[in-house]
């Protein structure tokens, strides 16, 4: 919080907290005269603030689709460049040693009641949240209709519910599933993926530099460590 450093306001989705906190540290180490200031909230909240005219230099939502609405605000035009991807997975509570679910498809686990009995509670992201849209997308394509559902405001809330045994299954991203060994992740057939891209919203060269950093091999390495796929 030094006043003589140039402040770079980066609005990043709360679900990207780990990645962008790492980026902040690395970028500030490379550029000692820059103070990266993260605004971490839900993608839609950030989007609303930017549409309201907030002084964001960089916007990094949890879904590339959310960039469209701010694109006329964006300084650089053209297709946004994806820096990472992620895919949806179904998680169940368990300590990873559970063998009777290995090889089971998610469809079988949930639909046929092989693991999760009838009346089971499934946690998912609410529609409108990127992971919620991905879940809707998946359910529509698979023709699935879930029973009791709890709609959570963000993907980590879904993870918390399943890991804590409060929900019997949940849809989260692979990266989230990897952070908690109290859940078992089942692969989804034709799992929906989500693409991450960012928009530079100011003319400041530093903002471009930060965007370049996110696309750098060093950042890619960090992203992979967190479980993202990097194209």
């Amino acid at each position: 919080a030094s006043h003589d450093r140039e402040v770079l306001d980066v609005y990043a989705a709360a679900s990207l907290t780990d990645a962008f906190t790492a980026f902040e540290a690395a970028f500030e180490a490379d550029n000692p005269d820059v103070d990266v200031r993260l605004n971490l909230a839900g993608s839609t909240t950030l989007q609303r603030q930017i549409l309201d005219g907030a002084d964001a230099d960089v916007f990094a939502p949890a879904d590339v689709a959310l960039l469209a609405a701010v694109s006329d605000t964006a300084a650089d035009d053209g297709e946004p460049e994806v820096y990472a991807t992620n895919s949806l997975t179904l998680i169940l509570p368990g300590d990873g040693g559970d063998t009777d679910v290995e090889g089971l498809s998610a469809e079988e686990a949930v639909l046929d009641g092989a693991v999760v009995g009838p009346g089971a509670l499934v946690a998912r992201c609410a529609a409108g949240v990127p992971c919620g849209d991905a879940t809707d997308d998946y359910l529509a394509r698979a023709g699935l209709d879930l029973g009791a559902v709890t709609e959570e405001p963000n993907v980590r809330a879904v993870l918390r519910k399943v890991a804590g045994g409060e929900a019997d299954a949940g849809f989260v991203y692979v990266t989230d599933a990897a952070t908690d060994d109290r859940v078992i992740a089942l692969d989804l057939a034709a799992a929906p993926t989500v693409d991450y891209a960012l928009a530079v919203l100011s003319d400041e060269p530093t903002a471009d530099a930060f965007a370049r950093y996110v696309h750098s091999p060093e950042a890619a390495e960090a992203l992979r460590r967190l479980g993202f796929d990097v194209p």
């Binding site: 839900g42 409108g128 959570e152 809330a157 804590g164 409060e166």
Partner: protein, 246 residues
């Protein structure tokens, strides 16, 4: 002067909200079975939480105001803690206590999480401190000599409490119950964390609003107007009972 300026400042967001509201589509947005269910759940949860707050909170406030006993500061702590804790954390605490794998849940094999009862519990925990603080303050500033008179007329502690102290504190109890109800009505974080966001079970209006805000802002605004209307209706209906007789 300051107050007038202040109130004006507060008036602006409300005005903006009303201007932004999707008046044309209001009926369409609100006349859905989901909304009706959410209203029902909201009323059931908030009113149950208010009743629970009054039943537990009024005696607690009385004990806190009038008696000294070991562990008093512990009780005070327990009942005021949820006032400052972010509601989500209260939800997490409830999970640790009453969740499926919580202290009690693992002991008895049942949890209250993801149930309507759980939603009531969450709302009660968050709302009751408002009632307790409001009522305790009134009891403290009540004239103890009236209770003395009642004693001298033969009324024991319980009768004095019920016939004298409580009626005299009625304005504060009503005000406290209104505060508690309002807080329960708007409760979001503890509920979604502990009771989930399940239609017909725990999806109250604020949960519906907050989630709708992510995907369907117009619906969120429409639901907000609905909440406002319900709340104002209740506040106006209660106004007379608020005014103490003297």
């Amino acid at each position: 002067m300051v107050a007038a300026a202040g109130v004006t400042v507060l008036f602006i967001p409300l005005l903006a909200l009303l201007l932004d509201a999707p008046w044309a589509r209001l009926a369409d947005l609100l006349l859905t079975p989901e909304t009706v269910t959410a209203i029902r759940v909201s009323l059931v949860v908030s009113l149950s939480a208010t009743v629970a707050s009054v039943v537990i909170g009024v005696p607690t406030a009385f004990v806190l105001a009038r008696h000294e006993f070991p562990g008093k500061s512990l009780v005070r702590t327990v009942v005021t803690v949820p006032l400052v804790l972010p509601p989500v954390v209260t939800g997490v605490a409830l999970l640790s206590g009453f969740g499926r794998r919580g202290l009690l849940g693992s002991a008895f094999g049942v949890g209250l999480s993801n149930t309507t009862v759980g939603a009531v519990l969450a709302a009660t925990l968050v709302a009751m401190p408002f009632l307790i603080l409001s009522v305790e303050g009134a009891l403290r500033s009540a004239d103890p000599r009236l209770e003395q008179q009642a004693a001298s007329l033969g009324a024991g502690p319980l009768a004095r409490w019920w016939q004298i102290s409580l009626p005299l504190a009625r304005p504060a109890i009503v005000a406290g119950a209104v505060l508690a109800w309002a807080r329960a009505m708007g409760e979001f974080g503890a509920t979604i964390t502990f009771a989930g966001n399940i239609e017909g079970v725990s999806r109250t209006l604020p949960l519906d609003v907050s989630i709708a805000l992510l995907g369907d802002p117009d619906r969120a605004l429409a639901l907000s107007l609905l909440m406002l209307t319900i709340a104002l209706g209740v506040l106006v209906a209660l106004r007379d009972r608020w005014v103490p007789r003297r």
